[in-house]
Each structure stands twice: as structure tokens, then as C-alpha cells.
């Protein structure tokens, strides 16, 4: 083994207690960073998947202008053609069609303004988890029945139960009055309060008939095989639909464009997390800075002797940097190992947050949270610790460069 490494290793253990405390500080910070980043990524995945699976999908094809104005006339006139395109893309897992219209919804007691959505019951259950969220009654049986699936909070507000009738009154695509009566077939609870308070779903064919859609829909909702493949599918789809001649130009939107609020809340959470992580890393950096300043002060005479016998300051700096990198690496390695163990354990068993279920429901997540250990969450924090502590160790190492041998030898 090269003598520099031998010396560095032995120097590290000259003061075992101080070394162990420094390694423990680095290890603790790395463990915390690995686990907390994994936890954040897991929560984001859960939030995205909840929103995607319940309603939004990974991608949507819409007529240009519909996202901003949600006017009935901005419709996809030939949804079947879109379906045929989607059938030809490998990474598309499933898709469905939806049409929507703002309407007044009345029970015998109350009236509310809500968004009525027409869904294809067979296709919808491949895209959305809503069928599994039905808590009372049943899922929609066919695409042309006059029945409705109502969110639990809306049902409570309307004071309706299974088998009760609801009157729908809105404006059709052609400007005429859209009116119908549907029977409550099922009541669902998604956990997302806003969704449960404002959603009514009826069969797509019923919707197209009541709202005079002439076979058109407002959204073609696509679920990809994985989150990673979304951008690829979006690019392929954008290319495929660019040449289609429809009354309104067709656009493809991904989940970030469809749910900008979700993306912003993830970004905000990431930023606040990073501020906390930076503080943690700086505290560790001061710890290692203190250790190495102490080492330089304690060993000034020794450095003077090394210089007297012919060692250049650069060699002593190198020795100090090997010591700091070795100590940091031990801490980081232990931290990464412990952080991975904790993350993987909770990735399997989940962390129970049922006490905070009210807040979590707002975010679309259930009471159990699962961290997600990825290469990014494993390496980002520890590498930041390595970088910052290496920079912190440079200062005492550079101090050695300014030492004069005669002053260093007589240093007390």
C-alpha cells in the first residue's frame, strides 16, 4: 500500500473518538438524505399515480382550446381514429374516451352545479381505478343506460342514495338544451375530496345523446406502461396526429400539463426539501472543517518536520485530503447502506400516516406511504455531502501551504 495512504489511515485513527464522531455525523446525514429523498420520490410517485389512475391518465388528446376554455364545441370529432392510432403504439397500456359538460344537477332536495362526464364503462375500467372505488351500489353497467356514478361527497350534498333519480340540465354541443334524468347506480370514494365533491359520471353514449355530441368526445385519455415512457409516447402521438384534418387542431398533453397544480406542489416540496438538505449538509461540512482545523493545529510541528526533511507542502496537502476523503467516504458508505436498508424496509412495509389522512386525502394519497429507493435518491445526497466536505477540507489543507518550516517546527 502506498505510504501516503498508510499514513492517512493511521492518522485518521490517532484520535478514534473524534474520527468516530465525525464519521457518525457524515453517516447520519447520508442516511437521512438517502431515506428522505427516497421518501419524497415515493410520495411523488404515489401522488402522480393516484391522480393518473383515478382520472387524469398520463396523456390526453384534446382539441386545441378545450384545456383553457372547456367549451363544448372544442371536441375530438373522430375518437375511434385516435383509438386506432393508440393501438399501434407499444408503450400504450390502455385508453378511453370522455366527454364533459357543466350542468345543474338536482335531486328532490338540492341543486348543484357540477361537471358531468360521459365515460365508456368498459374502456374506463382499464384506465381508471374508479370501478374499485365504488363503495355503494355498482359500477355503470353499459354504455347507453340512463344511470350515474356519483362522488360520495356530492351524493351527501345532494342527499341521494342508490336508486334515487337526479335531473341533469345543461347546454348541448349544438347550443340546445341538454336535459335528462338518470338513476344513481353507484357511489364512489376516491379519497380526493375535490374529486368526490364535483364528479358525476354517466355512460358515454347516453352523454353523447343528451348533449348532442354526434359521436364526438372531449378527451382521449391514455395510460402508458410506465411513467418513464410518457414522453416517448407523447412524441409519437404528437407526430401521428399532426397530419389529421379535424375542425379543431388536436393536441397531446402530458400529466404535468393536465395537472399543473400537482407538478407545482411537487416542485414546491422539492425546493423546501432541498433547503433543509442543504442546511444539513452545511452542518456536516462545519463538523469536518472543525476536525481538520484541529488536526492542522495539533500537527503543525509534525508538518514542520516533514517540510524540514524535504516534503513539499503539496505532499502534506495531499495527505490531509486523502485523510478527509477517506473519512468522508467511510461515513458516506455507511450512510448509503443504512439509508438503503431503511428505505427498502419501508418500501416493502409502508409508513403509516393515518393520523394525517385529512391532509393526505387532499393530495390524493392514502394513509400508507412507501419510499422509493432509486439511483438518484441513493447518490444525490451522499454525493452532495462528499462535495461539500471535500471543499470544507480544502481550507485547512490550504493553510498548510502557507506554513513556514521554521515557524511550524517551533509551534506550540
Amino acid at each position: 500500500m502506498p505510504i501516503d495512504i498508510t499514513m492517512a489511515w493511521r492518522n485518521i485513527w490517532r484520535n478514534p473518538r473524534r474520527t468516530l464522531l465525525t464519521v457518525a455525523a457524515i453517516g447520519f446525514a447520508s442516511t437521512a438524505l438517502v431515506f428522505m429523498l427516497s421518501f419524497q420520490f415515493g410520495v411523488y410517485d404515489t401522488m402522480i399515480n393516484s391522480s393518473v389512475n383515478i382520472h387524469a391518465g398520463h396523456l390526453q388528446i384534446q382539441a386545441k382550446g378545450y384545456k383553457e376554455k372547456m367549451a363544448m364545441r372544442y371536441a375530438v370529432a373522430d375518437p375511434v381514429r385516435m383509438g386506432n392510432l393508440l393501438n399501434g403504439i407499444d408503450d400504450v397500456k390502455s385508453y378511453t374516451y370522455r366527454a364533459e359538460g357543466f350542468s345543474m344537477l338536482s335531486s328532490s332536495d338540492r341543486t348543484y352545479g357540477v361537471l358531468v362526464t360521459g365515460i365508456d364503462p368498459d374502456k374506463e375500467k382499464q384506465v381508471s381505478t374508479i370501478k374499485s372505488l365504488v363503495r355503494k351500489g355498482e359500477y355503470l353497467s353499459s354504455s347507453n343506460a340512463y344511470e350515474a356514478l356519483v362522488g360520495s361527497l356530492l351524493a351527501a350534498n345532494l342527499k341521494v342514495g342508490i336508486g334515487d333519480e337526479i335531473t341533469i340540465l345543461g347546454q348541448a354541443k349544438d347550443g340546445s338544451v341538454a336535459a335528462s334524468v338518470v338513476t344513481v347506480k353507484g357511489i364512489f370514494t376516491s379519497g380526493i375530496d375535490e374529486f368526490d365533491r364535483s364528479t358525476v359520471q354517466i355512460p358515454l353514449k347516453t352523454f353523447q345523446e343528451v348533449y348532442s355530441m354526434d359521436g364526438a368526445v372531449h378527451r382521449v385519455v391514455v395510460v402508458c406502461k410506465s411513467l418513464k415512457s410518457v414522453s416517448m409516447v407523447k412524441a409519437a402521438l404528437a407526430e401521428d396526429i399532426s397530419g389529421i384534418d379535424e375542425k379543431y387542431e388536436l393536441k397531446v398533453f402530458d400529466w404535468m400539463e393536465i395537472m399543473p397544480g400537482l407538478l407545482q406542489s411537487i416542485q414546491m416540496d422539492l425546493i423546501s426539501g432541498f433547503i433543509m438538505y442543504i442546511i444539513l449538509v452545511i452542518v456536516v461540512a462545519f463538523s469536518i472543517l472543525n476536525t481538520f482545523l484541529m488536526a492542522v493545529f495539533e500537527r503543525t510541528r509534525e508538518f514542520g518536520v516533514l517540510m524540514a526533511i524535504g516534503a513539499e507542502p503539496g505532499r502534506i496537502m495531499k495527505l490531509l485530503l486523502i485523510e478527509s476523503i477517506t473519512m468522508t467516504s467511510i461515513g458516506i458508505f455507511l450512510g448509503m447502506a443504512l439509508g438503503s436498508v431503511f428505505s427498502l424496509y419501508f418500501q416493502k412495509h409502508g409508513i403509516d400516516f393515518t393520523g394525517a389522512s385529512e391532509i393526505m386525502n387532499q393530495m390524493g394519497i392514502s394513509g400508507l406511504m412507501y419510499p422509493k429507493l432509486t439511483l438518484l435518491s441513493l447518490f444525490t445526497g451522499p454525493m452532495a455531502v462528499l462535495f461539500i466536505t471535500s471543499v470544507a477540507a480544502l481550507y485547512p489543507a490550504l493553510k498548510v501551504k502557507s506554513l513556514r518550516p521554521v515557524e511550524a517546527i517551533s509551534y506550540n
Binding site: 505510504i3 510541528r301 509534525e302 516533514l306 524540514a308 526533511i309 524535504g310 516534503a311 507542502p313
Partner: protein, 227 residues
């Protein structure tokens, strides 16, 4: 042949607000193979002169040359190379590297010189044998007595065959018997291997051993006796 040439060297220190004249124009030549002592009371300037001869400190004016190489205009890196190849040091407090064994301490200088491992290990062991530390190669400084540590320091100083060995009060931390043994050993090195030794001391025993005694007082050479 003069191995050390000191010409009109002056050195001043600032202590607080007071200017202290450590050396006031000292000139001195030491011959190759010499065994000389710079003697004088504390604060006389003997250690300052030794440090300047060793290239650890630079004079305010004047010049020093070791083995024909003048220190004038040398950078810190040049001085480091000069110390590595031409000067060996023995310090009062031994000053061995505590994390290295005896043989590693002696080897370290040769490592800095770039010698290969097998050669430097063999040479380090040979020199440790010469200073009477056979079989104690792997002991760390903390496992050796003061006298043994100073012998390791001497071995480190002479192992690379320097032009001169500078010893700053080498017996100050040793009892008289151990100090005597150390001086005997250095005298033997001087006589058998022609290693040039220059001591800074106020120990009578060292002064007795020295073949040349340079008395320094108030930054000037007060007396220069060749025995």
C-alpha cells in the same frame, strides 16, 4: 573543502514592538567532515544560525551556500529540494512521525527522493543497525525510549548521505549516559563515514566532543576554537 559557507548573514525578528537582532553579520566556513558545535546561551542566535544554514529560515541579508549551492534567490520549493538531498536534521524533541514505525520513519526521506521500495527498506534497516537499533524496525516512536528515538532521528538524518547533518540540541532531552552514547555514535559516523555534523548546543558534553567550537553571543561570533 568548505561544505558550508556563511557570509555576512544578518537576521532580525520583531517580538511584539521590539526589534531583536538575532544575527549581526555572521560569517563562518565549515569544512567537509567537520564535527562542529555552535555554542552559546539562550537567545544568542545559535539556533537561528543553524536554521539558516539548514534552509529552514532565510537571512535578511548575506548569503549561505551548502555544498556549493547558494540559497540566494531560491524558492521555497528549491529550498525543500535542497534540504531533501543535502541536509539531514536532528531535533531536540526527536520529532519522529508518530504514525510511522522506526524503519518507515527512516525510509520516508528516501521515499521523497523517489527510491524504490526494496532499496529504501534495505538501506533503512542497515542504517538502523548502524545506530544500534537492530530488531526494533517495526516499533512506533511511542514504543521507543528517548535515546532510541533520537537514534532513529539520527538514522533518518544520515540515511540519504546528506552533505551535512544539523543537530539542534540533540542531547537536551536525554540523560547524560544516553546523551554520551548518542554522541559516541555520531562521532563514529563522522569518523568512519565522513558525515559532517554541526550542532547547536549549550551542553558541555557536546562541546567536549566537538572538534571545533564556535561561541556565539548576542548574534555575533565571540570565539572560534579548533581543537
Amino acid at each position: 573543502m568548505n561544505i558550508v559557507q556563511v557570509k555576512e548573514v544578518k537576521k532580525t525578528y520583531i517580538q511584539g514592538k521590539v526589534e531583536v537582532y538575532a544575527l549581526r553579520g555572521v560569517s563562518l566556513d565549515i569544512k567537509k567532515g567537520g564535527f562542529a558545535a555552535l555554542a552559546g546561551p539562550s537567545g544568542s542566535g545559535k539556533t537561528t544560525l543553524l536554521n539558516i544554514i539548514g534552509g529552514l529560515d532565510l537571512p535578511d541579508s548575506g548569503d549561505v551556500a551548502v555544498d556549493g549551492s547558494s540559497f540566494s534567490g531560491m524558492s521555497q520549493a528549491d529550498l525543500a529540494k535542497m534540504r531533501l538531498n543535502k541536509i539531514g536534521f536532528v531535533f531536540q524533541a526527536y520529532n519522529l512521525i508518530p504514525v510511522l514505525s522506526a524503519v518507515e520513519n527512516v525510509e520516508f526521506v528516501m521515499l521523497l527522493q523517489g527510491l524504490d521500495k526494496v532499496e529504501r527498506r534495505q538501506r533503512a534497516k542497515d542504517v538502523l543497525d548502524d545506530v544500534g537499533l537492530e530488531g526494533k524496525y517495526d516499533r512506533r516512536p511511542a514504543e521507543l525510549s528517548g535515546g532510541q528515538q533520537q537514534r532513529v532521528a539520527v538514522a533518518r538524518a544520515i540515511v540519504s548521505n546528506p552533505s551535512i547533518v544539523l543537530a539542534d540540541e540533540p542531547t537536551a532531552n536525554l540523560d547524560s549516559k544516553t546523551g554520551n552514547g548518542l554522541l559516541e555514535m555520531m562521532k563514529e559516523m563522522n569518523e568512519k563515514k565522513s558525515v559532517t555534523f554541526i550542532f547547536s548546543t549549550h551542553d558541555d558534553m557536546v562541546m567536549d566532543y566537538a572538534r571545533r567550537l564556535v561561541q556565539i553571543r548576542d548574534g555575533e561570533i565571540a570565539d572560534d576554537i579548533v581543537k
